[in-house]
Structure formats: C-alpha cells, structure tokens
C-alpha cells in the first residue's frame, strides 16, 4: 500500500480524532467502524482468521508504550509470502496504528514495536499475502494507565 493509501485509510476516521475533551477524560472512546478501512486494503476479498499471532501483554500498565509483536506463520518463500501488515486499534482516536511492507529480503513475517493504546481494547492485524489472500489475528488488552496522582512538570 502506498503512503497515499495509508493516508486515505488513516484519514478515513479523522473526524473521530477530534473527540470532545470530556469524552477523552472519561475515556469513553467509542469502538470505531474500521470496516471501510479494511475494505480499502482487501478490496472486499475474504480474510481468513488464522496464522496471525498478535502478542501483547494482557495487562498494559501504561498505554503510552505497550510492547507488540506480530508473527505470521508463513514460509516467506518467493511465491508464498507475507507482503504487508496493517495494525488497527479500534478505540484509538486514529485506529490505523502502522503499516509494514515487506521486501524479498525479509526472513520472517515478524515485527516488534511499541504502540499507544488509549483504552482497553482489541488490537487487530491484517496480513496481505502474495497471491491476493488475506489473514488476520487479534488480541484483547487491558490498559491500566498510570495513577493520576502526579502530573508531568
């Protein structure tokens, strides 16, 4: 997917980004409908819910930095490989967290990173495969953000 497509997908819900302050304070961030974003990636083709492992701590102490590992069971051969990963968090103000595009020298369909999670939610990953197939996986995370007893400065 091109940078432009990322922007289209990411911007798809930009309106949801401008949440009223009160809503943010109360952390009642609604689940956003990411179906249109997924549609842009898959072109409406079916997604198999298998072979994508989304590793996150079941309880994240601080939503600012949650370790994430994504692994896809794939031979990563010339003809059967993962070409892209898209990571979504439906309750984040901007649900598309990141996209990765794999060149031929990638040894494994795996990335490690650290992400922000606004609230307790599901993290959902779509893997695009060579040959126009799609896989997905997801994990639920509880976020207990830092105690509100101190402030930044």
């Amino acid at each position: 997917m091109s940078r432009r497509l990322f922007l289209q997908v990411a911007g798809g819900l930009a309106a949801g980004a401008a949440l009223p302050a009160a809503a943010q304070a109360n952390r009642i961030l609604p689940v956003q409908d990411i179906a249109p974003l997924i549609e842009k990636i898959t072109g409406g083709r079916p997604i198999d819910k298998r072979d994508v492992t989304v590793e996150l701590p079941s309880l994240a102490e601080n939503g600012n930095s949650v370790p994430l590992r994504i692994r896809v069971a794939s031979p990563m051969s010339a003809t059967d490989r993962v070409t892209d990963l898209h990571v979504f968090a439906e309750r984040n103000p901007r649900p598309l967290i990141a996209a990765y595009h794999f060149g031929p020298a990638m040894a494994r369909a795996q990335v490690d990173t650290r992400i922000r999670l606004a609230v307790e939610q599901r993290v959902f990953v779509i893997a695009s495969l060579s040959g126009g197939r799609f896989l997905s996986g997801e994990t639920h995370v509880v976020v207990t953000s830092a105690a509100c007893i101190d402030e930044g400065i």
Partner: protein, 106 residues
Amino acid sequence: MAIARLQVPSTVRAGEAVEVRVLVQHPMETGFRREADGRAVPMNVVHSLVCRLGAVEILRAEFGTGVSANPYLAFWIVPPASGELVVEWVDDAGAKGRVAAPIAVS
C-alpha cells in the same frame, strides 16, 4: 538533529537470518497534547521509515499517532549481499533522519 540507534550484526553467513533493530528519538506528537500554558502541540510523527541494503528495499513502514514516542522497530532479514544497511525516515514537519551500518556477508 536526530539521534537514532541501529543494531545489526556486522558479519553474517550467506543465507543466515539476522535481526535488525531500530530506535529513533522522536516525540511522536499526537496533536492532542497541550503545553503547560495551554497551547496545543501540533501533530508531528515520523510518518514513513524505510530500510534498504544497497539498492534493495527490505522494509517500508508507515506510522500514525498510535506508534509510541521514540519509535522502536525490530525485524528479521536475510541479507542478500554485503553492503550498507540504511534506515531513513521523515516526519510531518519534513525533518529527515538516517542511520546506517555496514553488513559483510561471507
């Protein structure tokens, strides 16, 4: 100027898989944060990052505001040939950064 770190073994046997690790200093401003005086801090994230070995593109990534401050990324590659592994990125303000490390494939 951007501070960043890149970790990869300097020598690799042909066909061997090795881990590449990248850490970039960047606040990844969400646009939702306010300064102590109430001023909104504009959104500014590293939106694109690319890793190449010589002319070969290994991995390209696009980030949104959901990637943590001081982005960290690790992945596994089979270096096709000796060369300089280069990671480059650009943020919403147009600031660019680069780190590089040589890899010798034997």
